[in-house]
């Protein structure tokens, strides 16, 4: 049956981290939205470790919050341990990270979705997409119910032809205990969308009361936790609206009652067990064809590739307040279950550990993201958007931010508005999407701070200021929050000037700004800060101190951005035939035609495209623009 006569504006397939943000972003923009999930009980599931944030990812979560997303606040009120990473490497690369109560995180997110206006939730597995003349118009499900939609956002995670490996044992499914989306892949192939395989893995889970924590090193949370949401500008009502209006209170005061993680190490015995059984590993026996991530190697990989390293660090992370389950970070493997048992028992503190779930590797289909526009819309099928692991990424945060962008752009497409495209110079979200659609990826893509050329501008506290223009232009946050952001910005600007004007005082030379700079970057004595400054909110204080002490570097980065800005502004029309451009080298024309770059900036980042090619395109596009102007100004008889 066809469920709806009037199509939804947006149908989101999948309710993982990408799907949730996509559905919320679309419905909050007033679009009628349907969120389909194979299992309503696993909404926003953390399939791997129960943590949000970390290097670069923490900054992404703050950017999501700046764009009105849910991940930040959801982490704050369900987090059970908070740490600010990289305190010593400089303010720009400091990243907040939190362990979350896995179930609380899911329940709260589900409740937010349930209460969201314009959003309908439904449990069904999408089996096929419905196309009409090159565009998507709906989806079919395993219940033989068809849903009509003007746009579709696909967030299949690892479920697309998901295949799990434990040694020689194979199970279909996107996650242990869950199903696999088997037929949807053929829909994509039918539409001419290319698919490839990737692999990822997850470690075993253990029973806490069988672990001897006395043999491990404790890692506590920070005494004053760094949170993800911008609590200083968010509206109080949109902050805890679930807690206030929902039927049950969910979550707790952010940062309260923190729990600990635990550290232990593998032993020579662990290495021996792994080496002896290497041939039984799904990865090493050739069972797995997909490419796995280098930054998250299996324990097999670690012992083989870094044979001289005597031991490897393992982190035990609690999965929640109301469960005794522990995640063993660092022990990802596809070795058979009996080997896993032996391996776990060779680790100090885990001699008698009980395994609750085995480690496994999962292979899944992804659609190489170079087939997407920067809006995350498919180049092949109109109104079809992709977000999350299907684009070859890894990580909850990477998925969530793509979901948000895809959700916003699905609505904008339906409303015939220009897409929201975040620049590489504006935030990690911009870097992520530009890397995906321009370079593609051949391993699960994870964000690192080193991927951003303007990393110094991306300190986590400035996310809201950097993305304010997008939040405003696309109405992603409330007017009252925008007002508070504006007030915060002018307060920051005022104090930066003030620091340049006021004298350092207490026997120091130069301005207050000089003293702060000496203290922060040269190890100078503590600058004495004015009382009225110390009375300001800490977000404002930190941003002022950062901007003052890094002024020279930030200026340098801004100058570099200004230099590149010109080419970023020149759009390339979608219908441009590169083969017809005179003077363009043939191989460049072929590359450009395959990628269909969105603007000259993106074109310049495609490997093999030379500055001369860009010059020629620039001339050609200007000629085209002028020819258009001329013909438009010809008077009609």
């Amino acid at each position: 049956m066809i469920f709806n006569k009037i199509p939804f504006d947006v149908i989101v397939c999948g309710a993982g981290h990408a799907g949730c943000e996509a559905a919320l972003a679309a419905s909050r923009l007033g679009a009628s939205t349907l969120l389909l999930t194979g299992n309503l009980d696993t909404i926003a599931q953390m399939s791997c470790n129960p943590a949000i944030g970390g290097q670069a990812k923490g900054q992404i979560v703050r950017e999501i919050d700046a764009l009105g997303g849910e991940m930040g606040i959801n982490t704050d009120v369900t987090g059970i341990q908070f740490r600010l990473l990289n305190e010593s490497k400089g303010p720009a690369v400091q990243s907040p990270r939190a362990q979350c109560d896995k179930k609380a995180y899911q329940f709260r997110m589900k409740h937010v979705l349930e209460l969201q206006k314009n959003l309908q939730l439904f449990q069904a597995t999408v089996t096929a997409l419905v196309f009409e003349s090159g565009r998507v118009v709906g989806v079919r499900t395993n219940l033989d119910i068809e849903f009509r939609g003007r746009s579709v956002v696909v967030t299949t995670g690892t479920f697309l032809r998901g295949l799990m490996h434990i040694g020689q044992n194979k199970n279909e499914g996107g996650r242990l205990g869950d199903f696999s989306a088997r037929t949807l892949s053929s829909s994509f192939l039918e539409a001419g969308i290319e698919l490839q395989r990737l692999k990822t893995g997850t470690p075993p889970r253990l029973l806490g009361r069988s672990i001897d924590f006395g043999k491990m090193e404790e890692q506590k949370g920070d005494a004053s936790p760094t949170l993800f949401a911008f609590h200083d500008t968010r509206d109080p009502e949109d902050m805890f609206h679930v807690e206030q209006t929902g039927e049950s209170r969910l979550g707790w005061a952010p940062g309260s009652d923190q729990v600990s993680c635990w550290m232990t190490y593998t032993t020579p015995r662990t290495a021996e067990i792994v080496r002896q059984n290497l041939h039984k590993s799904a990865m090493y026996s050739g069972e797995i064809k997909g490419v796995g991530p280098r930054y998250c190697p299996s324990i097999e990989d670690k012992f083989v590739r870094f044979a001289d390293k005597p031991r490897h660090l393992l982190f035990l992370e609690p999965e929640g307040r109301h469960t005794n389950e522990y995640y063993v970070n660092g022990l990802s493997t596809s070795l058979p279950f009996e080997v896993q048992l032996e391996m776990v028992h060779s680790v100090p503190g885990l001699e008698n550990a009980v395994l609750l779930r085995p480690a496994y590797a999962v292979e899944y289909d992804f659609a190489p993201p170079t087939q997407l526009f920067p809006s995350l819309e498919s180049k092949k099928v109109e109104n079809l958007f992709f977000a999350g692991q299907i684009n070859g990424t890894s990580g909850y945060e990477e998925a969530a931010c793509q979901g948000l962008v895809a959700g916003v752009n699905a609505v904008r497409k339906v409303r015939a508005e220009d897409p929201m495209v975040i620049g590489r110079h504006e935030g990690y979200i911009g870097v992520l999407i530009d890397d995906l659609v321009t370079k593609g990826t051949n391993e699960p893509y994870r964000m690192f701070t080193s991927r951003a050329e303007h990393r110094l501008l991306f300190n986590h506290g400035s996310a809201e200021l950097r993305l304010e223009a997008h939040a405003r232009a696309h109405r992603l946050v409330s007017v009252s929050r925008l007002d508070r952001i504006r007030a915060k910005r002018s307060q920051i600007d005022h104090w930066i000037q003030e620091f340049g004007r006021r004298r350092a005082g207490s026997g120091q030379n130069g301005s207050l700004a000089d003293a702060v700079r000496r203290q922060m970057t040269g190890g100078g004595p503590a600058a004495s800060l004015p009382e009225d400054f110390c009375a300001l909110g800490s977000a404002v204080q930190q941003e002022v101190l950062y901007r003052v002490s890094y002024e020279g570097y930030l200026l340098r980065e801004e100058r570099q951005i200004a230099k590149l800005a010109d080419v970023e502004k020149i759009r390339i029309p979608a219908d441009l035939d590169f083969a017809e451009v005179k003077g363009l080298r043939k191989e460049s024309a072929l590359k450009l035609a395959a990628f269909k770059p969105f603007n000259l900036g993106q074109a310049s980042r495609i490997s093999g495209v030379s500055p001369a090619d860009i010059s020629i395109l620039m001339v050609m596009l200007e000629a085209r623009r002028r020819a258009g102007e001329e013909s438009a100004s010809v008077p009609r008889n």
Partner: protein
């Protein structure tokens, strides 16, 4: 409308010796540049004759500067044209100075591209502009490839490789703070950075050698009137090139000859005599001598064996060192001077007789030895970088020095990385852009990352 906000510069006449060479710049910086290099306020479209002074205030050449105010210029932006003497060395010096002052080397066909984008050419010319860019870039690419296939490419690859290693090391500690990485070892980074700085400096030093190869070693012959400078030159050249007469002060302007000594090309420059009390006519020649001396690579100080050692003008004496000066005692057939107590600028003293040719073999050997010393120690390879390379390498060196300073002051790792990335980008300008993936490849190959 100006599409781009930076100022570009390039030599717009063919490379090589000619009557004149024109260096052209286009962009918002042109007015300011005019004042900085020629002094004074430019009057658009009015030729201004003056000395081109580089950033250190040294005169490079006397030139004609011409400013075209945008939009009435070829590119539609402010444009500065500098006509200098048609000596590739001078043109290159001017170009280098413009780069040092913030100009960027123009891409192939970029002036024409700007002209079109700024509406200075009509639509019909757009295709011609595209063709021009295409043709020039093919040529530039061929030239660049040729250079990179050679030893410059190899040296650059070694430097890039080492820099990627250092950067990967720094980035690993930034991006994976919770990993069980080996303890940070600053000395490893420190050592690598000093090797990198040294390597970059060695490549930079070849710039001058490149000039020496192309232009010959500028060897200035100095001495009192009638000490026999012109006779010496004639003897070395083997022809009656300079006008020789027993009358002092015959050479009022200067005379230049190019000779080969071994594999080296030597430019012999004869000068007017150093006369402590010159006649009015001679004063001009003296002035020129001082100017030539300031640009010299090598000095032959000619003394008359029959006369006491003359005092040297300060401006010249300051240029002479033991390494770049050979004291040539002429007329040694007539007298055996002691020079006791006289201050000579160099201990290398060669006794000759320009009249009968005695001592010339040793003189040639000494010149050859000095010429050899200019050759930077590069083993058997010969590298000669150009101005564009030097510009990029100079920025790489500055970034590396800044990184070393951060390391010393224990500055934040993110700032150290920022400098290292700058250096890498500068290397990339010569040998092609270096993708971040290469750094990540290195990082994951070196460190066991991943819990």
């Amino acid at each position: 409308m100006s599409v781009l906000n930076d100022t570009i510069a390039a030599l717009s006449t063919p490379v090589g010796t000619s009557g004149l060479a024109v260096v052209r710049a286009s962009g918002p910086q042109c007015r300011e540049l005019f004042g900085a290099v020629l002094g004074g306020e430019p009057k658009p479209r009015l030729a201004t004759h003056g000395d081109y002074r580089d950033r250190s205030g040294q005169v490079i050449d006397d030139v004609v500067g011409l400013l075209f105010a945008g939009p009435k210029s070829y590119t539609g932006e402010d444009t500065l044209e500098i006509s200098c003497h048609g000596n590739p060395f001078i043109a290159q010096k001017i170009l280098e100075d413009l780069f040092a002052r913030g100009c960027r080397a123009a891409e192939p066909g970029e002036f024409s591209r700007r002209a079109f984008l700024n509406g200075r050419m009509d639509l019909a010319q757009a295709e011609a502009v595209a063709d021009l860019i295409h043709a020039r870039s093919e040529r530039a690419m061929a030239a660049a490839n040729q250079q990179l296939r050679g030893s410059l490419g190899r040296h650059l690859a070694t430097l890039t490789d080492e820099l990627l290693d250092v950067l990967a090391r720094v980035e690993a500690y930034i991006d994976f703070p919770d990993e069980d990485l080996p303890p940070e070892d600053r000395t490893v980074v420190q050592d690598a950075l000093s090797r990198l700085t040294f390597g970059t400096e060695r490549l930079l030093a070849t710039e001058h050698y490149g000039e020496l190869l192309r232009e010959g070693i500028k060897t200035v012959i100095l001495g009192e009137p009638n000490a026999g400078k012109s006779s010496l030159l004639n003897r070395l050249v083997g022809a009656e090139r300079a006008l020789v007469s027993p009358e002092p002060g015959t050479t009022r302007d200067y005379i230049e000859e190019r000779i080969a000594i071994g594999p080296h090309s030597i430019r012999l420059i004869d000068t007017a005599g150093l006369n402590p009390s010159p006649a009015p006519l001679e004063r001009l020649g003296m002035q020129k001598t001082v100017e030539r001396a300031s640009l010299a690579d090598l000095f032959l100080l000619v003394l008359d064996a029959t006369r006491p050692v003359p005092p040297l003008p300060d401006a010249i004496g300051a240029c002479m060192t033991a390494g770049n000066t050979i004291v040539v005692v002429n007329k040694s057939d007539l007298a055996q001077p002691e020079f006791g107590g006289a201050q000579l600028p160099s201990p290398t003293v060669v006794r000759i007789s320009a009249l009968n040719g005695v001592g010339f073999e040793r003189l040639r050997d000494e010149i050859a030895a000095r010429a050899e010393a200019f050759r930077v120690d590069q083993g058997d390879e010969v590298i000669a970088i150009n101005a564009r390379h030097a510009d990029a390498l100079g920025r790489a060196r500055a970034a590396l020095m800044a990184a070393r300073q951060k390391l010393e002051e224990r500055g934040a790792a993110e700032l150290l990385a920022s400098d290292l990335r700058d250096a890498l980008a500068a290397f990339g300008e010569i040998g092609g852009r270096i993708d971040n993936e290469r750094m990540l490849d290195r990082l994951f190959a070196t460190f066991c990352i991943g819990k």
